[in-house]
């Protein structure tokens, strides 16, 4: 046995699958430092929510019962004094994010499954005619205020006429990849680009400040993510079972429900969690689409910046803490289905 240098003793593994002592120190050191970076703001949130106004404004105090006496005044204000506002926003958030997540996961994974297993060849000409007519319809109803029955009837008539006249002669088939790219590319749209017209659209149909409006908007905004992740997931699961189900005379819906969905629990759980988090935390769209009845939690957080009185740090911390709890709960529930951690798999190159 040759003499090992200090460097070798510290950083070269003595055996395979084992870490040298120096490496161990570095690895755990870095991980612990990052844990502190992640957990300290959370700790600060927790203790700020039990501080009195004087404790917050008088300079930093760090440890409850040692530095300062904790008080539950922020929590009392939130759940006793203003409980109506808080609980309404809370239930709104829960209903909206659950419904939006379910809707977009269902519709998105159906579309992703179809794109992964069925060959589509829609005619580009038909699609373009349809899209242009739809745009004209919307614009003439929404912006110029023409009677909607008249517009839709004439648009349908023109569509069928043009389909007979043009689409049957000129055929430019699109491929599945094109449809997929189109769907995914919708994610590039920043909410700020579309939010004003969406606002006007819901104003026209008198649906502003309703749950349904926000649910639909969130579902569509997250649809591209669902399609992207689930498409990648579906292409990676074997096709045998579906083929035998099909031989046994199963319909496409039955195959999807009985064979494919149970096989894709991991991907579905990961996608659901991501979409859930995104819709639970969304602020800008909710700000535009809700005024009072359908307000969600992020709006409540922003409302703690109460003008002249300054920011109510203690109440705000309490609201943020309350907001984290359901997400943690969801993560724990869904974690069971996700074999290797959170958000796996669905993403691949």
């Amino acid at each position: 046995m040759t003499e090992r240098t200090l460097y070798q003793r510290l950083f070269e593994p003595p055996r395979i699958n084992q870490m040298a002592i120096g490496t161990k120190v570095v690895v755990y050191g870095l991980l612990l430092i990052w844990s502190a970076v992640v957990l300290f703001p959370i700790y600060w949130l927790l203790i700020t929510s039990v501080k009195s106004a004087a404790d917050v404004n008088g300079g930093p105090v760090y440890i409850p019962f040692v530095d300062f006496t904790p008080s539950l005044h922020a929590w009392r204000e939130l759940f006793v004094v203003d409980y109506e506002d808080t609980l309404r926003a809370y239930f709104n958030s829960i209903i909206i994010s659950l419904a939006a997540t379910l809707l977009s996961t269902l519709i998105g994974s159906m579309a992703a499954y179809a794109l992964a297993r069925v060959k589509y060849a829609p005619n580009l000409v038909t699609v373009l005619i349809f899209a242009i007519l739809m745009i004209i319809t919307f614009v003439s109803i929404g912006i110029y205020g023409v009677d909607w029955r008249l517009v839709i009837a004439s648009a349908l008539a023109v569509f069928f006429f043009l389909m007979k006249a043009v689409s049957s002669r000129v055929k430019i088939p699109l491929k599945n990849g094109d449809i997929l790219f189109w769907m995914i590319s919708q994610r590039i749209l920043a909410p700020i680009v579309v939010v004003v017209p969406i606002y006007m659209m819901f104003q026209t149909v008198r649906m502003l400040d309703t749950h349904l409006a926000i649910i639909l908007t969130y579902a569509v905004v997250n649809l591209p993510i669902v399609v992207w992740l689930m498409y990648d997931f579906f292409t990676s699961i074997p096709r045998d079972l579906e083929e035998s189900a099909q031989l046994d005379g199963a319909t496409m819906f039955m195959t999807f429900r009985e064979v494919v969905l149970p096989l894709s629990k991991a991907g579905l759980a990961a996608t659901t969690l991501l979409v859930m988090i995104l819709s639970w935390n969304e602020y800008l769209l909710a700000l535009f689409l809700s005024t009072a009845k359908a307000q969600t939690m992020p709006i409540l957080v922003a409302a703690m910046n109460a003008g002249e009185r300054g920011i109510l740090w203690w109440s705000m911390s309490a609201v943020i803490v309350v907001m984290i709890i359901p997400v943690v709960f969801m993560a724990v529930v869904l974690q069971r289905y996700i074999s290797k951690g959170i958000l796996l798999g669905a993403v691949k190159g």
């Binding site: 992640v38 300290f40 703001p41 769907m183 004003v196 990676s236 922003a302 943020i320 796996l344």
Partner: protein, 390 residues
């Protein structure tokens, strides 16, 4: 990728095989449904996206080309052509969107010209080796946008002039995503080693993503406060008690990138961790047997397996990063001046001032920049890699 061990995908790959399903022998309605299952599966998604993004996109475009006056509950639309865009790019709002242009410094000229040179050389190489018409047009767009952005930075940043919102947004996107990628990659690599308490680290590192961006904004404002925040003794020790983050443009921008990174590193981390854990253990062990060093193992075995996931995750992050609005809005309200205002926030402020035309025009400029950069990234990097693999 999450295929259980006992089921290997025997025929993977994206090429769809048309399975032929039968119809359920039921009533006429259910038969009709089964016969049209192919359309019914995809139609809800297609229709929803059409209604919710095509229409708003077109309506936004119309607004961007008009001046809208609100009067007594209704509004009046007047077509003004390119005026809204002109105002942002050449007119009185130029300082706000692109930055203040005065004399370009020597450094500015050098940066601008060298980027132009590099891009031209890259185009020349493309034209002489693998020319296609579509590819050429695409690269032409990428090249001209890159050169325009390079000159924008050359005339503002490298000449000592303030940025506009475009520069700020690009700073957030590239610096932010770069930081998030490097730290996320490092943490994922560390967590994929044989360590104890892996589950604890995994859960703990994921937490920041669960907090609403608004909340993250306020938390970081609280943490960075130099009189009430937890680091007050530190600031006092450094003699920075009176230093306010929000009054120094660069400190404020870095501060926002820190907040954004804190929130989004978990996303990069969790997906890259999955990728690292998917690297077959046997490969690594076999290489260790053969006496390969850890750096060599990382470069030759782990990295090629992780790379495709890394590219996808970065594409997602870049797309999302362009939309940044909550953090600057909460942490600095875009200040000092316009130093931390992202394009989304710029558009939002214009909307709040009831200038709908300008708001939509800025939103469209944002869309243009995002599409060019993301599609270039996708075509030049992702597709190129896929072609090399084939």
């Amino acid at each position: 990728m999450t295929t259980p061990e006992n089921m290997t995908p025997d025929r993977p790959g994206p090429a769809p095989v048309d399975l032929t399903w039968t119809a359920n022998p039921g009533g006429p309605v259910s038969q009709w449904i089964d016969n049209h299952a192919r359309q019914l599966f995809i139609m809800p998604a297609v229709l929803m996206i059409l209604v919710f993004s095509i229409f708003p996109l077109v309506a936004s475009l119309i607004i961007a080309f008009s001046r809208i006056r609100l009067r007594g509950g209704g509004y009046q639309v007047r077509f003004v052509g390119w005026k809204n865009f002109e105002k942002q790019i050449f007119g009185s709002e130029q300082f706000h969107f692109l930055g203040t242009f005065t004399q370009m410094s020597v450094v500015g000229w050098m940066v601008g010209l060298s980027v132009t040179g590099l891009i031209l050389w890259w185009m020349y190489k493309y034209v002489t080796t693998q020319f296609t018409v579509v590819g050429f047009i695409g690269r032409l767009i990428t090249a001209s946008v890159t050169i325009a952005i390079a000159f924008m930075f050359a005339a503002t940043f490298f000449s000592g002039n303030p940025f506009g919102t475009l520069g700020v947004t690009l700073f957030y996107v590239f610096v932010g995503c770069g930081v998030q990628f490097l730290i996320g990659l490092g943490l994922a690599f560390l967590c994929s080693q044989q360590i104890r308490g892996r589950n604890f680290f995994r859960v703990a590192f994921f937490i920041p993503m669960m907090i609403t961006p608004i909340g993250v904004g306020y938390v970081f404002r609280m943490l960075a406060d130099t009189t009430k925040g937890p680091f007050t003794p530190l600031w006092q020790g450094l003699g920075l008690k009176d230093f306010a983050w929000a009054t120094d443009p660069w400190a404020a921008r870095v501060f926002i990138v820190i907040g954004d990174s804190w929130q989004w590193i978990p996303f990069v981390f969790i997906i890259l961790l999955a990728a690292f854990e998917n690297v077959p253990r046997d490969y690594v062990e076999a290489a260790e047997m053969d006496g390969a060093g850890s750096w060599q193992i990382f470069r030759e075995i782990t990295w090629p397996q992780v790379l495709p996931v890394a590219v996808t995750v970065m594409l997602i992050r870049v797309i999302e990063a362009f939309k940044i609005v909550d953090l600057p809005n909460i942490m600095t309200s875009g200040g000092p001046g316009i130093a931390t205002e992202s394009m989304s926030l710029h558009s939002f402020f214009a909307w709040r001032a009831l200038d709908l035309g300008q708001s939509a025009a800025i939103a469209y400029l944002l869309l243009f920049v995002t599409v060019v950069i993301c599609v270039s990234f996708f075509n030049l990097i992702v597709l190129n890699r896929m072609r090399q693999n084939d």
